[in-house]
């Protein structure tokens, strides 16, 4: 079962192996954009079919002198059947072959997945795309039709309201499901693709190993911290420090100096910090702090953040 989460668009999905995974729902904007891209591709495909059909007609006419109504009728029916098939099966075909994505979804980095953490079945894909007929194509043709008389105009109004509920369904529920998703038991999620970043702990401990220290590093004091100094911050601060250490860019060094001085003040680190010593100080502190917190984790203690005496401000 998927559970709701307080963070917006964040849900937990439990895999068949029983491991909960955090996933983020695709937002409505990117889904709409994906739909538009797909419709453009669909339009291009249909145009190609018609162009090919008429090219064939032209070829037959010129080579075999087949012309008249029969050939034209054949061409038109090939075009109509072709576009009907493309329209009906475009989404199904791609979502089955491309594991839950269409060209538009792929460009936007979103995917269809089973809402309950199971396998996405072809049946669910077909079901959610058949409902598209009612959600998308029917309203469009309906809007293009003109009412014949007053009764029909009223009927049209009612149907418009009704169809409106259908079309705007993603706005009426927390999981941003459209009717097709509701029926098929699916939802659309973001598919992020981050790189595996270097382990900050491994990198800094390698740099701090005595054999590999440069002369500059040897000139620095040996940063050591007492258990009391390491018992102030929690996991949240540690991981924020990790991002500060990873940061690159113009302001990054200034930020690190600022952060280092604040930490020093907070933990009563009395020795003065030179500007060049700030980065090694932070690295040493990160390493010691992480070592300490992970040791606590093994003992079953998890300190989420620092004590709230001075508000939920950043550790910086």
């Amino acid at each position: 079962m998927a559970a709701a989460d307080s963070r917006k668009g964040q849900r937990t999905l439990i895999t068949p192996e029983g491991v909960p995974l955090d996933i983020s729902l695709a937002d409505r904007g990117s889904r709409f954009a994906a739909l538009l891209i797909d419709l453009v591709v669909l339009g291009l495909l249909v145009t190609t079919v018609w162009a090919l059909a008429f090219l064939g007609l032209w070829f037959l006419h010129n080579t075999f002198d087949i012309g008249g109504n029969f050939a034209l009728g054949l061409t038109v029916s090939i075009g109509i059947i072709g576009s009907f098939l493309i329209r009906s099966f475009y989404f199904c075909w791609f979502e089955i072959r491309w594991r839950g994505s269409t060209p538009g979804k792929r460009m936007l980095g979103i995917r269809v997945a089973d809402r309950h953490g199971g396998r996405l079945t072809a049946e669910a894909v077909i079901a959610r795309n058949i409902m598209r007929e009612i959600e998308l194509f029917l309203p469009v043709t309906f809007l293009l039709s003109r009412p014949g008389d007053e009764v029909e105009a009223w009927q049209n109004l009612l149907t418009t309201v009704w169809i409106g509920i259908f079309v705007f369904m993603p706005f009426f529920n927390r999981d941003r499901l459209r009717v097709g998703d509701l029926v098929a038991g699916t939802w659309v999620i973001n598919l992020p693709r981050p790189r595996l970043l270097q382990d900050m702990g491994a990198a800094t401990s390698a740099r701090a190993a005595p054999a590999k220290r440069t002369r500059f590093q040897q000139s620095l004091p040996d940063f050591t911290f007492t258990p009391a100094q390491l018992s102030i911050y929690g996991v949240y601060e540690l991981q924020t420090l990790e991002t500060v250490l990873r940061a690159t860019g113009k302001a990054a060094d200034a930020t690190r100096q600022d952060v280092a001085r604040r930490i020093a003040r907070k933990i009563d680190y009395t020795e003065p910090l030179r500007n060049v010593a700030c980065q090694p100080f932070l690295e040493a502190f990160y390493l010691a702090q992480r070592n300490r917190l992970e040791a606590d984790l093994l003992m079953g203690k998890r300190k989420e953040r620092k004590a709230a005496e001075d508000g939920p401000s950043e550790p910086s």
Partner: protein, 339 residues
Amino acid sequence: MGQTVKRASAELKSSAFRKEREHLWLELDGLVTRIEKKGLRKLTAEETLKLPMLYRQTLSSLSVARATSLDAAVLSYLEVLSTRAYLAIYGVNTGFVASLWHLLWHSLPTAMRQGAAHVSVAGAIFALGALVSYALVVGNPDWFYSFVSPEMAGGRAPTTSDTDLRAVIYDNAELQIGNLQFFTSFLFSHNAGIALLAFALGFAFGIPTMLLLFYNGCTVGAFMALYASRGMAVDLGGWLTIHGTTEILAILICGGGGLMLGQAAAFPGRLSRLDNLAAAGRTAARMLVVAIIMLFVAAILEGFGRQLIQDMSARYGIGLIMLTLWMVWFLTGGRRGRR
């Protein structure tokens, strides 16, 4: 100051953990990236065998890392890698044609059998409407105008002459290939519109669906009464049967699907209303697919059959054959070899 913490030049436990397993994650990452780009089938046999193993190892790494590691990079990477691997492994694993075949021969007939009761109720309402209006129009032909709108009647009314009424049934219009427009018109045709509306309005507790079915039953009943009064009931029957067995059945199926949705919305039972609606919707949507296929076939029958085949018994024959074929599909499809 008590004793100072020993300088952590020795590796962190979590770093050692990561170093030990990192190559597995990266291997899985490579496989998943290839699956995302080219598909599961492009993997070699060994890679396919290795995939679930790597996936489970990564999941277990994730669980361990959550409990013991504070390396934010590893945590977020494993989280996403596991999600991607999950999506790649638990994605659609059947081919397109096989999926369609399974839908046509297993799921659709099964859904039809599940919805048989609702379709029967829809049929009963429709028949009731037909009977009521038949009785009323036979008693007083003026009732005809209440049941049939002028454009629907298409010049057929109690005042029309016998020859004109007959001409509608046996219109010997030249068949033109241009009539292929039925492909486009099938979705916009009057009856298809009724069918889809009967389905879609089901959410409103099924009441509009019932009214719609009753009213359309009335229309058919009124026509029957009109033609019966001129002794042409059998001819009208043939005209209706050739595509009506398909088309009216499709309307009834849509109506049945609508009633199923209505029931789910009105009497949710143990589930929440939305969940129950979704559960019923799965069956109802399949019934809708059946109905759309039938409407498509009906449009072909109406476009060609009704004009090409002027013989009454042949019309009855084709209509009944179609009915038999549909029934064979619904009743035997997917009973064996269930997956």
